[in-house]
Symmetry: C2
Subunit: 209 residues, 2 copies
């Protein structure tokens, strides 16, 4: 038999972290027991401790690797060298696509990271800060008036609000999809920022004149 131990080890680990993300997202970190996770994975509880040193490390792995995905996404869009409006539009669309595919990881990031100890939580927060900064730059490029008023990070957080809040109400099987949200959020942000914070208050209009 071939030595496929490392491969199956990683597969098993990924399956366990995927299931952990699912349970943490549904019930919350502290309301999920290691016994429940073991049962859901069809393995014994002690086996879980072969893949993570404790429960908190599982939470960290889920959140940190998801942040790696988001950081990579931002860098990938930056290499496209798009003009400002298209760049911000692409960022929002790619984020919503990612949320749709990693719904559980996203909820864990938003609702459970605060239960980590200082050091690992800080590691995740640093990556979050890099992503926020990238969005703030993209917003400033679209509308220089925003950063002149020192509001680029604030507007970025308002955008994250619109985008991140969807996970609390958008049903996966509902009539509206994450893809439908992208043009809506993009339209409201671009028109809103130009109208409210634009130096000349010029307008970006998706509707026919």
């Amino acid at each position: 038999m071939a030595r496929t131990k490392a491969a199956t080890h990683d597969q098993q680990r990924n399956a366990i972290l995927e299931k952990a993300a699912e349970l943490f997202a549904e019930k919350g970190f502290h309301a999920t027991s290691m016994s429940q996770l073991a049962a859901a994975c069809g393995v014994s509880k002690p086996l879980l401790y072969h893949y993570a040193k404790d429960k908190a490390e599982m939470l960290f792995s889920v959140a940190d690797s998801y942040m790696d995905t988001l950081v990579a996404l931002v860098e990938s869009v930056e290499t496209e060298q798009l003009p400002p409006d298209a760049h911000l539009t692409r960022l929002i669309a790619r984020f919503l696509e990612t949320y749709a595919d990693a719904h559980n990881q996203h909820r864990v990031l938003v609702q459970d990271v605060r239960h980590l100890d200082d050091a690992p939580r800080q590691q995740v927060a640093d990556k979050e800060r890099a992503v926020v900064a990238a969005f703030a730059r993209a917003i400033a490029a679209v509308e220089p008036g925003v950063s002149e008023k020192g509001l680029d990070k604030v507007v970025a957080m308002i955008l994250f609000g619109m985008v991140n809040w969807t996970f609390t109400w958008l049903r996966a099987n509902g009539p509206l999809t994450y893809e439908d949200m992208a043009p809506l959020v993009t339209g409201i942000l671009l028109n809103g920022v130009h109208g409210t914070l634009g130096a000349a208050s010029k307008k970006t209009n998706n509707a026919p004149d």
Copy 2:
């Protein structure tokens, strides 16, 4: 001595629920023990069970009475009979004021209500639905194109995203206050909705021409 027993009972109960909201907001419902709550209140743990039949009832009382505040706020603004733009502007401003004063209750509502059993959770959710419906009506009055496209509830949720997300990042002692957020959120929403979803795409402009 006067019979002030009922008054002190209610005072004690309110003090305990206030402290419960604080701990639940900071640490989360399941990460807060009744022993910690008792210690934080300076009372014995059994005394807590004189004011609530169990831990879940404390969570329910915090969330449900906070929703009563929000429902009353919406009704109070409706009795002002303001024109559409002013009505929506007032709703947003009053909500952000309330969040600033009831920061802990708000976080508990957002992050811990899901840990309630079906029946009490549904009771809170019904009040939430009434508030969302009121915002959807206010948005539809401002821009009829939104409800014609069947997006009034969706735009209301986008607005709640901008507003509710602030509790995750806005520091109480930071340079930006909840009051500063109101014109920003209102401006982005009104300009965004008019520009993106307006039948004639007319513009609401806060900036000088």
